[in-house]
């Protein structure tokens, strides 16, 4: 069972490797990946450095090229594939089926994983993508544990699941809420609720208001912690109730499910957060490394240490975590 950690920079990548990641995933400095944030990601020079560093530690480097190519600049997605392969990537994580096909035909030796952005949530979809030479599918965060189990038992494909981090509550790759509000979406721009559209305003009564492209996402009383205005985590009104209509600010944490994910043969646990700091990556990686090692040493005696949960909670959005869709009650 692989621990796959995020890195948005060389220091984060080194942190992940130092603290026990089996593999690290990164993206390029453009809109070919779904974390296209200012100051983040790798250019040609740092990409080579990342590959060298990762390989000298005996770990694997995955490169995410997981947005959908634009009609007038398909070449940029092809070049991203070329650049990633020539830098020495072990794995490409791809969502667009034309980009997948290009990679599979041009570089038959390279390992291809289907990005979560491709929204493969069922056995028929996984079969569909098999024709593009993929060897692993990253499952969207909309499935219950029962559904993950059913897929693991019926599909011959290696499966990767999200284990920890920011929680997308919509089927990834099929959410246009961000472009509806700002014009930029994960699929087209590699962005969700982009920072350039965020405005904060403190009201005379001390209430802090967050807006995204002028739409009020939330209002915080002075005693509340204000979170980033990700549009699916705001407080809105339905009928006469104002509440977190879609989801609360919270992070996904599947530590409790670890033995079950292991039992079902889930190949890889993915930690979300390429936009996070090296310190964050260090702490998360350390906890998950310890948990996986404890599990592999004695699966039948595995228990979740209170200290692990304390660290993970402290690193979570709104300092709370959820099992998300894995737990049926969440739905």
């Amino acid at each position: 069972m692989e621990l796959l950690c995020p890195a948005g920079s060389m220091p984060a990548l080194k942190a992940a490797i130092t603290h026990g990641a089996d593999a690290v995933y990164i993206g390029l400095k453009d809109d070919t990946n779904a974390r296209h944030f200012a100051g983040l990601n790798f250019d040609q020079a740092t990409l080579h450095e990342a590959a060298r560093y990762t390989h000298s530690a005996g770990r694997k480097l995955h490169i995410a090229i997981n947005t959908f190519a634009h009609p007038d600049s398909f070449l940029r997605w092809q070049q991203a594939v070329d650049m990633a392969v020539s830098a020495g990537a072990d794995v490409l994580i791809i969502a667009d089926l034309a980009v997948l096909a290009y990679a599979a035909e041009r570089y038959p030796h390279i390992e291809l994983h289907l990005s979560v952005q491709a929204s493969a949530t069922n056995a028929a979809a996984i079969e569909f993508y098999r024709q593009f030479g993929i060897s692993r599918v990253v499952l969207p965060r909309v499935l219950s544990m029962q559904q993950v189990r059913a897929l693991a038992r019926t599909s011959q494909m290696d499966l990767e699941v999200f284990a920890f981090g920011s929680l997308c509550i919509m089927a990834e790759g099929r959410c246009y809420l961000s472009s509806y509000m700002t014009g930029e979406s994960p699929n087209t721009a590699g962005a969700c609720s982009p920072a350039a559209f965020v405005r904060w305003q403190e009201k005379p009564d001390g209430v802090l208001e967050s807006r995204l492209n002028d739409v009020v996402i939330d209002r915080f009383n002075p005693d509340e912690t204000a979170g980033y205005p990700t549009l699916c985590k705001g407080r809105f009104t339905v009928g006469s109730d104002t509440y977190h209509v879609l989801e609360e600010p919270t992070s996904l944490n599947t530590l409790d499910l670890l033995p079950e994910l292991y039992k079902e043969g889930i190949r890889s646990l993915k930690i979300e957060g390429r936009q996070r700091s090296p310190a964050y990556v260090s702490q998360i990686t350390r906890v998950w490394r310890a948990a996986i090692d404890a599990l592999l040493t004695a699966p039948e005696r595995f228990t979740v240490a209170a200290e692990w949960q304390r660290v993970l909670n402290s690193l979570s959005e709104g300092s709370q975590t959820t099992l998300g869709a894995y737990h049926r009650k969440w739905k």
């Binding site: 190519a69 007038d72 667009d96 096909a101 069922n122 099929r174 509806y180 739905k331």
Partner: protein, 292 residues
């Protein structure tokens, strides 16, 4: 240019559905899409009921397509999907690639729905090779995007072998989740939803704290708060769009059809306001309403 009625996105009682499709049969719509695309728990109409409606509409001279579920998770949903794909009679709108795989296996043509991630000419070419006969563009794309895509050499050569369709009227389907937001709005879990969507024939309005309508909750689907309306953009669709889709609303759908048809060449524009939007088509944020 032809006009189509998309699948009913909401959960309506059987009598309302049958009444709606009788109206459709009497209208001058060209193409009708039928089927449950949002939630497999909605079973007011079963497969056989949809098939009966499909036959009735075909006899009334309509081209009929069966639309399939968008977010497929359970094995039971895949079995139902196979029944649709194996219907032996009607064209299928695939809203998940799982459906495309099944249709490709059986050498059957298909319509790729708006939730299929086809963003460029190379993906479209691949889908064409698999049997695509009509492409419904993802809702977040613009006229510019469509034009650029269709101008590519690899597409221009084969442009007559497929049709393009654009979602042009109705609340836009923007997201699908494992969670049911209508059930959540009633403080229920999805497993105990009691099919409460049936109480909201046009979904539940979501407003921001300063009163702007931002979304509509429709079960596991989140829709645009504003009603997308490209009536005044119809003249800019000629040469690019073969089929203009209207998404059924509980009231006024067929009146809008008449208004759309009247403005095909821009001679009967309509005043549209703050509850409507046209941003996506104009390469702006989807919620924007640009006038003039």
């Amino acid at each position: 240019m032809k006009f189509s009625l998309g699948p009913v996105q909401y959960f309506w009682p059987k009598t309302q559905m049958q009444q709606f499709y009788r109206q459709a049969a009497d209208s001058d719509i060209d193409i009708v899409y039928l089927g449950e695309t949002v939630c497999s728990k909605r079973r007011e109409l079963k497969f056989e009921d949809y098939k009966a409606l499909a036959c009735m509409l075909r006899e009334a001279g309509k081209q009929v397509c069966l639309s399939t579920m968008t977010l497929l998770e359970a094995p039971s949903e895949l079995r139902e999907l196979r029944r649709y794909c194996d219907n032996g009679d009607f064209l299928i709108e695939a809203n998940d690639v799982g459906a495309i795989g099944i249709l490709q296996e059986n050498n059957l043509p298909f319509v790729a729905g708006a939730a299929i991630n086809c963003y460029n000419q190379h993906t479209l070419n691949r889908l064409l090779a698999m049997g695509l006969s009509r492409w419904v563009m993802p809702v977040e794309l613009s006229r510019d995007w469509l034009q650029q895509l269709l101008q590519q050499e690899s597409i221009m050569d084969i442009r007559s072998s497929f049709e393009t369709e654009v979602f042009a009227f109705g609340h836009l389907p923007l997201a699908w989740s494992g969670r049911c937001f209508t059930a959540r709005s009633e403080d229920r879990h999805k497993d105990q939803c009691e099919l409460c969507c049936i109480k909201y024939p046009q979904g539940r309005e979501v407003k921001s704290q300063d009163g702007t309508q931002i979304f509509v909750l429709n079960g596991i689907q989140t829709q645009s708060g504003k009603c997308y309306n490209l009536l005044n953009q119809l003249p800019s669709m000629h040469g690019l769009v073969n089929v203009v889709r209207l998404s059924p609303q509980p009231e006024g759908t067929f009146d809008w059809l008449q208004k759309f048809k009247a403005n095909l060449h821009g001679t009967a524009p309509q005043p549209l306001g703050k509850n409507e939007s046209n941003g996506y088509w104009l390469n702006l944020a989807g919620m924007v309403m640009k006038i003039g």
